[in-house]
Symmetry: C2
Subunit: 340 residues, 2 copies
DNA sequence: TTGAAAGCGATACCAT
DNA sequence: ATGGTATCGCTTTCAA
């Protein structure tokens, strides 16, 4: 390995000078600079980030912590990751996706040791043991998602309440009065754990109540075959429902297929809006679903900005960003069928 | 930050002793060990991996290099990543997904600097500039996928030739004689670049020729709406074709929808096999597609084993693993329609 | 403008 | 079984 010493020797300067040239941290005469740069080129020098990190105490690396074993990477995460990567690069950082088990020890083991300058926590649970662990440590962090009580934390998240309200409003305008919300998320019934599901659910129920609508909440696991099964029995179990809100983009195409198998026409008999999806996923169903676009790209960028701001300016105010999903027209909503 | 010195001072031992206790690298009396461990606990000591990496020259971190900006994370990559993560952990390594631009400089900048002990290169192109860059460096690496001439490289990949042959055989047994292969991959017509597409294509054409079958090759970008458009016009453009091989799982559901829109019945008029897919994706189409299951999990594990073997035993033979996809029955193939 | 040298935190060799 | 200490590669203060 070519080190700074080698470069320094070759250029007849000290390692300090080489360092100054490499980092631009001090003015060096252009003649010397040229000599150093040539030596680097000739030797194929590349600075060793481990040495730099140790000396500096910073790595310019942000760890995006993801419980890969519990939640396989899906399309949405891909969107986050891609835009977050781009943004980090713009701001002079590297972003790496760091798979951790969903557990506080391992979180700390990584976060509090200088390998990363800051941490972006994904798949945040409503009651997430990793958060107190991070608070106890001294690594800056920010959340994508949020806990039940996110005050005092830096986070960016989807505004599920606004998203649900807007979807419900669209459908009530079309005359719908009987709703059903289908969540996915971690596990059946575990609303406590999964923020998106729980927040959507409570917003949904509030909307129902305040507008005098009827609404039920169901769970379906995030898989196409589960979706099919769900769709096939739906009409029998919810004969009155005319409007379906899906917070489960992976099951969505299967649900539509199951509904059709059972003779339910979409949107003739049942209108569907997919919450927090993408054009690509919504287009996999037939008819193409009307959906609320998940602001994944924006959240990725904002998440990176948030964590970098925390790293570089710990005193600054905590970011608390909520972004709603915006409606994208599709073929899956229509006026409520007149009661037979 | 609590350092070994702090622990050593507290336990009245030298830093060397603490290091031996932490790493189990030398026998230490149980009394001393206990004192050291207590001191660590009391102080909340956590070893700094940056310091360790510098001293040791190894980090126990494997970088999974992925061109996130060019190829957004999809389901298949998620499978790789998840199983690779698990396997790395079993073998005492950390795996991180490192987004890089698809470019040799950046590859080297990461790989050759001691931050990672080894590198797993994903989305390998047939002619991939990152490979010579890695060869020139001295960081062990392995490929998931392979270049056009992978001799002398360690790799694990899908056996596309076998997969295509097996799919074709299944369909010829059902009486099909007119085939079409639909690839996805990087860009229209750029077979040279995308290994899976090119290998499938050449195997496909060979199969056609040797069995006296007729086969065309088409491209469709990996998106559901492109798939719909493709499906809608397919029959007009390929009126004779009765069997479709899809190497494009993201477009597949859209293609099936487009076909139905155009009045083509699957599998009555047209049989479809999706190559390199998963049960989840295949289930998003209606009818559920017969598919060749991508061995993503196995490849993830094997990829990690391969790179770790190279790290720990550079002299060992180079792994060159090809795994075929295995057929999973669905609803999308049938006997060839009798000619009208 | 440049250099000498003291760290950064941990490892591991050589003594004892 | 322990301890002293040089070392890993780089940064940065202090002097020159």
């Amino acid at each position: 390995m070519v080190t700074m010493r080698d470069v320094a020797a070759r250029a007849n300067v000290s390692v300090a000078t080489v360092s100054f040239v490499v980092n631009g941290s001090k003015p060096i005469s252009s003649a010397t600079t040229a000599r150093v740069e040539q030596a680097m080129r000739e030797l194929g020098y590349r600075r060793n980030p481990v040495g730099a990190a140790l000396a500096r105490g910073r790595t310019k690396i942000i760890g995006m912590l993801y419980p890969a074993l519990q939640r396989p990477l899906s399309g949405t995460v891909g969107g986050f990751f891609t835009s977050a990567t781009a943004r980090a690069r713009e701001r002079g950082y590297q972003l790496v996706l760091w798979p951790i088990s969903n557990d506080s020890d391992e979180t700390m083991a990584l976060a509090d040791t200088g390998l990363v300058d800051g941490v972006l926590l994904m798949e945040v649970q409503l009651n997430d043991s990793r958060v107190p662990a991070l608070i106890a440590g001294r690594t800056p962090f920010a959340l994508i998602g949020r806990t039940a009580e996110p005050e005092g934390l830096a986070y960016v998240d989807v505004d599920f309440a606004a998203t649900v309200s807007s979807a419900v409003a669209t459908l009530t305008d079309l005359g719908h009065r009987e709703f059903c919300l289908v969540t996915g998320g971690t596990r059946a019934g575990r609303f406590e754990a999964h923020g998106p599901a729980e927040r959507s659910r409570s917003s949904f129920l509030t909307n129902m109540e305040s507008a005098g609508l009827r609404g039920s909440v169901r769970y379906c696991s995030e898989d196409s075959s589960e979706g099919r099964a769900f769709g096939r029995t739906f009409r029998d179990e919810h004969p009155e429902t005319t409007a379906l809100l899906l917070l489960n983009e992976h099951a969505a195409p299967g649900i539509v297929i199951g509904l059709r198998d059972a003779g339910v026409r979409v949107p003739g008999d049942l209108s569907i809006i997919s919450l927090g999806s993408s054009s690509h996923m919504a287009g996999m169903a037939d008819p193409a679903l009307t959906f609320m676009r998940s602001p994944a790209d924006e959240l990725g960028r904002l998440g990176v900005d948030t964590i970098i701001d925390r790293i570089e300016n710990p005193e600054a105010e905590l970011a608390a960003v909520l972004l709603p999903c915006e409606m994208v027209p599709g073929q899956s909503i229509a006026e409520a069928p007149s009661r037979g």
